[in-house]
């Protein structure tokens, strides 16, 4: 199959815009063939995920593009990187890893990317508009941009994201087109009282359930979420759903912009399937997110997956204020420089530091070697972190609320409310 290309596309593909741009365009065109697209479309913003994971191949790819003269042609933010660029020594990151991570970071900034270094770009700089065609990587950012903001992006993987940023072009297909954003699966919350919906663990646990229920990438339409859901709650839901499943877009009736009504979300069609969710399903989902036993000795609390927002720091500060003591284990919070700048101006850092909170910027617990070797049990309030920690960190994980995390840190053992 041949893809219809514009003169400018051909110029890039022929190498007339430089070798780096040629490589980027070649990958875009080959991916268009994979997806069965017939032409390309313009995107006006990118978020680059490929800068986050460090391997010899990822470094070589970035340096090949940069040294080939490639530069981004649209505003392009960067996902978290493999290093806390200011404080990596304090986290015991090996020198050779840091040196290569810094080279990779430089390759991306040399190409003109904006050094946001965050996996929650929608809570920082350059938030996309409704209907805007964008090319975003990072599964939690993709689901947020599509669902909560109503911008349009496919689930771009590492490497095609920077290619789209350089060329400003993506295959015309998938979630860029309105007809492909139609809901497929109706997910109805049935016996939930307002109390349960107010629980913090509801959001990641429901996200985890949703990812499994949607089975690969069917677009769910959710009925029964409270209309006053916060950005952070939707962030937690989407991140968990994009970990246990491939959810890149969900609609929540009365809450997300393409779903004023269920009929809008289904674009006049019918659901392929209806699933009723009861509170027992969420108890099971929450249990599935934990592999550590209640009462297990706790090594580290990890928060900020996706990156902690300023509002989440406020909630943490409140829990710390109520805590009867200090943390007896490592207590790490990961955030962006943007949220951290607000924190620094708020008066909250002192009590957090006093409790034992260590803040790290720009990076991810899974992409930088900062969790000490020998760590056995990790606790988090994040569905995404709980999902990936056993495989990526080789640890047992306990999933609980922020209050549970603080309580457990004080006791040095996993202690969740209502459990024995």
């Amino acid at each position: 199959m041949t893809i219809r290309l514009t003169d400018r596309d051909r110029q890039m593909l022929d190498g007339r815009s430089g070798e780096g741009t040629r490589l980027a365009m070649s990958i875009i065109v080959r991916m268009a063939e994979v997806c069965g697209a017939e032409e390309l479309l313009d995107v006006t913003q990118a978020h680059i995920d490929g800068c986050g994971f460090l391997s010899d191949a990822s470094l070589e790819f970035a340096e090949t593009l940069a040294s080939g003269g490639a530069r981004v042609s649209i505003p392009s933010t960067l996902n978290m990187g493999p290093l806390d660029l200011q404080n990596w020594r304090a986290f015991g990151v090996p020198e050779d890893f840091a040196a290569r991570a810094i080279r990779q970071a430089r390759a991306y900034t040399d190409m003109g990317c904006i050094p946001t270094w965050t996996c929650a770009p929608y809570q920082g700089y350059l938030t996309p508009r409704f209907g805007q065609q964008i090319a975003w990587g990072e599964s939690n950012a993709v689901v947020y941009a599509n669902s909560v903001l109503g911008a349009r992006t496919e689930r771009y993987g590492d490497y095609i994201d920077i290619c789209a940023a350089i060329t400003g072009r993506v295959p015309r297909q998938g979630l860029h087109l309105k007809e492909n954003r139609r809901g497929q699966l109706l997910v109805r919350l049935v016996d939930f009282g307002l109390g349960r919906l107010r629980e913090e663990t509801f959001w990641p646990a429901f996200g985890h359930f949703l990812g499994v229920a949607a089975a690969t990438d069917r677009i769910p339409v959710i009925e029964g979420l409270p209309p006053d859901a916060t950005d952070d709650q939707l962030k937690a839901l989407g991140a968990a759903a994009a970990s246990s499943g491939a959810v890149a877009l969900f609609h929540a009736v009365g809450l997300t912009p393409e779903a004023p009504t269920a009929a809008d979300a289904f674009q006049g069609g019918r659901p392929e399937e209806t699933i009723e969710v009861r509170s027992g399903d969420l108890d099971a989902a929450a249990a599935d997110l934990s592999t550590a036993d209640e009462g297990a000795s706790l090594d580290v609390v990890l928060l900020g997956c996706p990156h902690f927002s300023f509002a989440e720091f406020r909630q943490l500060a409140e829990q710390v204020r109520l805590a009867p003591g200090k943390s007896r284990c490592q207590f790490i919070v990961i955030t962006s420089t943007q949220a951290h700048a607000l924190l620094e101006r708020s008066g909250l850092p002192a009590p957090l530091t006093d409790f034992g909170v260590r803040i790290t910027l720009d990076t991810c617990m899974f992409h930088t070697p900062m969790v000490a070797p020998g760590t056995r049990v990790v606790m988090t309030n994040s569905g995404k972190c709980a999902y990936y920690a056993p495989g990526e960190l080789g640890v047992k994980v306990a999933f609980g609320s922020l209050a549970d995390c603080v309580r457990s840190a004080v006791e040095g053992r996993v202690r969740r409310e209502g459990r024995r």
């Binding site: 994979v34 990072e138 599964s139 993987g157 590492d158 990812g211 491939a246 990526e392």
Partner: protein, 143 residues
């Protein structure tokens, strides 16, 4: 017994190997360790299996968009599967293999199979994949 199937080519190439069949999707980042070739998603049915040199049969990828990077690094290190057979197009896996081809001139062939053909494959089947998407299946002695 030998059978022939035809798949849609996402990334062309020829390969041979024994099938490792998963009924569930897998995220290659967080689910595949490119240093060892092991499936490390402890919730996954193939947890602990080594995919290196096998023809990995799975319905689709899922989860992290860093899956491309894990597959690329696996191809560079020689720990990747010999080929990947899917039930539906997975751009994240295809991309990892295409970038490997562009950077190193090495790739993992990836095909999408029709549903009945996909479901007919069993663990341990000997599979040969041709550049045009042809697939030859030799099942071990059936009882």
């Amino acid at each position: 017994m030998t059978r022939h199937l035809i798949g849609r080519v996402l990334v062309p190439g020829s390969a041979e190997g024994r099938a490792l069949v998963s009924r569930h999707p897998l995220s290659f980042w967080g689910g595949f360790n490119p240093r060892t070739g092991e499936i490390v998603d402890r919730r996954h049915e193939c947890s602990g299996q080594i995919v290196t040199g096998r023809v990995f049969v799975l319905p689709a990828g899922k989860g992290s968009s860093t899956g491309s990077a894990s597959l690329l690094e696996g191809i560079r290190l020689g720990t990747a599967p010999a080929a990947i057979l899917l039930l539906k197009t997975d751009p994240i896996l295809a991309l990892g293999s295409i970038v490997a081809d562009e950077l190193y001139g090495r790739s993992v062939p990836i095909l999408v199979l029709p549903e009945d053909g996909f479901h007919s494959l069993k663990d341990g089947d000997r599979l040969a994949i041709a550049r045009d998407g042809g697939l030859t299946v030799s099942s071990p002695d059936t009882v």
